[in-house]
Symmetry: C2
Subunit: 244 residues, 2 copies
């Protein structure tokens, strides 16, 4: 997931036996992304200790990392809870992505070399030939498609030549992924995302900055629209018993 994070990339690649804390963190992240722990829900150390079969230290460490990543919320002396995922946050996320990623895309288009162009092309090709759903009949998330989708969007921006910016974009994409997971079964197959990706790819390679940015922005805003329409029930799932 956070494969672009400079800290983890080399260690994860070499080490065959990741540290326990890392295993817990990755499993926990998957569980949160997939909604096993509901947004706003408490994450008690003891429960997690039991569920993931580890001592308190690795659990706590995993939670700390996820907290810094924004997926988990920590309150000193009052434990951890799953980060909220309400429609206000979704709006904010979309807004941020539109602002940041169009800037990055513009820079990519202006500065990207031949290698960038080729990478955009090939990553789009891989995405295009992968079915979005693992099941042709109904929607079932296809991990391969998710990976290619992520790679394509990052490849688009990779020409900008700013690693810190790219890492942030990768992070934003992860956050967006969470919303997609939470409201499963979204906009499929009503919407032809393949065509949208194709148009973005062509505009980018054709160095049509304005058009590419407009398409990308529309792409994100449309996704946001579908998501907030599809999952209004998740808006304020926190509750969790106020003091009274």
């Amino acid at each position: 997931m956070a494969a672009l994070d400079g800290n983890s990339v080399e260690a994860a690649a070499i080490d065959p036996i990741p540290t326990l804390a890392r295993q817990v963190m990755e499993q926990l992240r998957r569980d949160i992304l997939e909604g096993a722990h509901p947004p706003g829900g408490r994450l008690r150390i003891e429960s997690l200790r039991e569920r993931y079969g580890a001592g308190a230290s690795p659990i706590r460490e995993a939670l700390s990392q996820l907290a810094a990543e924004g997926l988990v919320l920590r309150v000193d002396q009052r434990g951890f809870r799953v980060a909220l995922a309400d429609s206000a946050m979704l709006r904010d996320l979309i807004e941020t992505r539109c602002l940041v990623e169009t800037a990055a895309l513009r820079a990519s288009i202006a500065r990207g070399d031949a290698a960038w162009e080729e990478q955009v092309l090939v990553s789009h090709h891989r995405l295009a030939r992968t079915p979005r759903s693992a099941d042709p009949g109904r929607f079932l998330p296809n991990p391969e498609w998710e990976a290619h989708h992520r790679a394509f969007h990052l490849a688009l921006l990779d020409g900008c030549g700013a690693r810190a910016l790219l890492a942030f974009c990768a992070d934003l994409q992860d956050r967006a992924l969470r919303f997609r997971y939470l409201s499963n079964q979204v906009a499929w197959p009503q919407r032809d995302v393949g065509a949208e990706h194709k148009a973005i790819c062509e505009a980018a390679i054709g160095r049509q900055a304005d058009e590419a940015c407009a398409l990308l922005e529309a792409h994100y805003r449309r996704t946001g629209h579908f998501l907030s329409a599809a999952a209004p029930r998740e808006d304020l799932p926190t509750g969790q018993g106020p003091s009274t």
Copy 2:
């Protein structure tokens, strides 16, 4: 420092007795920013345990958080070390800031309301009336100036209406601050940063998007130029005894 981080803000504001891990983290961050631990240097748990008077758990937790923040580098099973701060990273940081913050500034100028305008004005005023150096004779970092400086730059972008973006900008500013600390005594008083801030402020309030962005970008690039010129010796301080 990371006062904009949603996780810490409320806890830190209320809790009079912060958790030990938090204390260690904040002190450690300050020490790293100020160069007490050199970039690339190892951070052994035992040494830190001794230095900060805490057990291994809080130390490890503080390191985890700083690692996620980018100030500390973690390698599984091989401990922690201070993140590098070479000129390539500085370049990358500047590039990222220029791309992201001009986008944010543009959005701020387009969307910012009266409250935003006033906040920019007042934060600039506070900055302008605070001396940059705590000592009139030579350069000595003035914490008050630093705080106002940070507030001014964030106020500029605060009109964009995207909290996630703003949080990222705050993070970028912290990273930049580190470079400033590392190469102490920089460009003072050769450079009139006050005038630069004033010009940016006026262009922003006057809704001159293009000019404000150009000024902001020049502001950052100039800083980068000074920093990399002032601290060439820090370029590759890692070394740390290769295998031979």
